[in-house]
Amino acid sequence: MRDLSIYIHIPFCVRKCLYCDFLSFTASAGEIESYVNLLVQEIEEQSVFYRDHRVISVFLGGGTPSILPAEEIGRILQAVRENYRMTDEVEITMECNPGTVTAEKLGNYITYGINRLSIGLQSTQDEELARIGRIHDYEMFLHTYRAARTAGFVNINIDLMAALPGQSIASYRESLERVADLAPEHISAYSLILEEGTPLYERKGQYSFPTEDEDREMYQMTKEYLAERGYQRYEISNYAREGFACRHNQVYWQRGDYVGFGLGAASMVGDVRWSAPESMKEYKDYVENMRTCTENVFQQAGVQVLTMQEQMEECMFLGLRMMCGVGCQDFYEKFGCTMEAVYGPVIEKMISQNLLQKENGYIKLTDRGIDVSNYVMAEFLFE
């Protein structure tokens, strides 16, 4: 029996944040309901392919899943439970934004079996939140966070962002301290990346952004400060107290099987990747044709069977995001040849530049390697 993770995409938001380039938009109650209907149908239709899988994690992401009425979340998770075999320790995470949940909603989530909550805070400075177009302030976040604890959530993640417009090292440090004081089990800390086409990108000239050096200082400080406070960095941007690393997150980097449901959701099962269509109309066709399994469905999903080389590339550039690195033995077992034989010269070169290190049979990024991880990872792609 193989492990399976499930991702469920809820593409709706109260409004889009200024830096966001994910697949999300606003929607009416009616639109939300018909979307959940499709989602439930998709979950049911696809279950036949996963009879010999057991689900180890479920992740409800978005968008903002928490803007759905609680019952809709219940409906989705019920469909999952009825159609898939779940392990006893299954991790069920839901993302939520401050100001979109009530004590009652949170209580319902617990009843549906949701045992991990990921709250998008980004910053504790209200001016910084306003500049990037968040819908909440720090006070609203605190309210949500306390309500979650009261409701009984014992595994909470808080999202933070560095390199925000107008952010200083001191203000970021304060956000870090305040968050650590709240003692969540897990902290995600990403640097803002200005994506072309987002409103923030268009108006970037109006703000002063932290310099690259400051950005790296923030990153370094995050690692050191959070370590003092009992958080281990287990992935480039993720920190957790002992035993609270996110299982779902690790599946992506360690190339476990995962299936995504919903608009534009990505899947990888048995070294085959595909994604659901990104337009609502196409997604509807896709779900409705699923039973007959026409050629069209495969085409819409852009099914890609990964070659051995592509699997190796992924194994390296995804695996290196994990601080534990990529195991040489695991590589050998998966591909039947040694990492040395495939990537020897690259690894040698990267080690000589102090970007990679080899420790106890694992290849991993050095601190400097993390800073320029794109550069290192690109080296592992074949010609």
């Binding site: 640097s191 320029v372 080296e379």
Partner: protein, 604 residues
Amino acid sequence: MAVIEQSRIRNFCIIAHIDHGKSTLADRIIEKTGLLTSREMQAQVLDNMELERERGITIKAQTVRIVYQAKDGKEYIFNLIDTPGHVDFNYEVSRSLAACDGAILVVDAAQGIEAQTLANVYLALDHDLDVFPVINKIDLPSAEPERVKNEIEDVIGIEAQDAPLISAKNGIGIEEVLEAIVHKVPAPQGSPDAPLKALIFDSVYDSYKGVIVFCRIKEGRVRKGTSIKMMATGATAEVVEVGYFGAGQFIPCEELSAGMVGYLTASIKNVKDTAVGDTVTDLDNPCAEPLPGYKKVNSMVYCGMYPADGAKYPDLRDALEKLKLNDASLNYEPETSIALGFGFRCGFLGLLHLEIIQERLEREYNLDLVTTAPSVIYRVYKTNGEMIELTNPSNLPDPSEIDYMEEPVVSAEIMVTTEFIGPIMQLCQERRGRYISTEYIEATRALLKYELPLNEIIYDFFDALKSRSRGYASFDYELKGYEQSSLVKLDILINHDEVDALSFIVHADSAYERGRKMCEKLKDEIPRHLFEIPIQAAVGGKIIARETVKAMRKDVLAKCYGGDITRKKKLLEKQKEGKKRMRQVGNVEIPQSAFMSVLKLDDK
């Protein structure tokens, strides 16, 4: 076919400044005489290279034979020889002119005489051609035919009052031109019974027939089986086929005799053997003297050409070989650069020639090229009395071995409206020009004469000229000779390694300025690395300018959401792909665009 009377032959060419409508007039003449119906006409029949049509210039001489029924009731044979229209191809032009007996001078009714018009007319007059003018583009609102007529008479001194007023584009006045050809171009002279004496004015390579020699029979006759000899190169061959030029095709015939223009093939493998300007004679009955004016064409401008993908080196070699078959003025020899790998040092007649070859290599042979800065041929006089001709700056001997150096200088004529005289003189001054004279052609236009070092005009002089005169200046030049000059080699060091492909020779006074600009430009072109990269310009080991590419601090992927890794992978692939197009020098990766960007230092 009836015997063609010499008196019914008219061999002529059309001379004009670029854009004054030479090729369009040629098309109209061909159309009017019924060689092709207008439906068959592709605009500008004679420019048959894709590139020629696109750039609106003629690169190789093209020739066509037309039969014209004149108003006097007789049929005339016209041989229209279309000449290349650029200063780079001056020698080819002069040989084409030598094949003619008369020339039509096309002058734009709005623009009047330009520098190139003058140069071409003088060239034609030098060859004793009867030149008659036609005024083109009279349909333009800005046309001033009377003014232009006067200008032609004043400046060139040829009769222009009865010049046909035409619009080649709209087919106005073409009949008049045709009649003028009959009456104003003299019939060819020369005895068909004298020993064979034919002028080669061009040649093309055909993979079946070998070299096809374009020639004008001055005396004697040639037919299949004639044993021929090229008097300058000494090559001999037996004629396989003779013929004349249809529109875009070769039409075989029995014999070519004195006065005729046509082609011959003789299973000749190499265009080198049939140099333009050479005289073809009968091996068994040779003429006493070759035709005058033959000279070996030398390359004026050199540059290194390298395949962007090193594995394409053999492809580049094959492509150059093929181009060379048709273009005797292209020279190349293999060279190696530490930065760019294996490539060729190529010699060209001028910058346009260089650009054309480069474009043809890229387009017709699908090659991605990296070209180094063009260089002229410097003469290096060493202390041991030896003189070397330097075509590649990297080969400059150690300064201690150099006594002095000389650089080529050209005589330039610039035609400009008076309001722009100031800016143009300033430009010439900046380019180390030596002022010779100003001649006023009329109240508003002047001809400036300068002597300029060739290396100052091979980069972007023409562009600068156009921009400082809002497009009104025209320019022509010819090599004057060599002059002693204070020259130094400017080296570029990237991360302390000298990059040979970026070295060039420059006048000592502009070394600092150029070095500074190079460093600035390279700083923008070279991506950040994991370490800091100094970019330095040096003369004789002394650093004269420096810029620094800062080390890359950060290059991290954003959040990878919901397991969708395809976007991230694309990003990494793009990064990797970008690196493939880089050249490794020491441990620095230099994009190919960097090598090219330094050619355009004056871009604002």
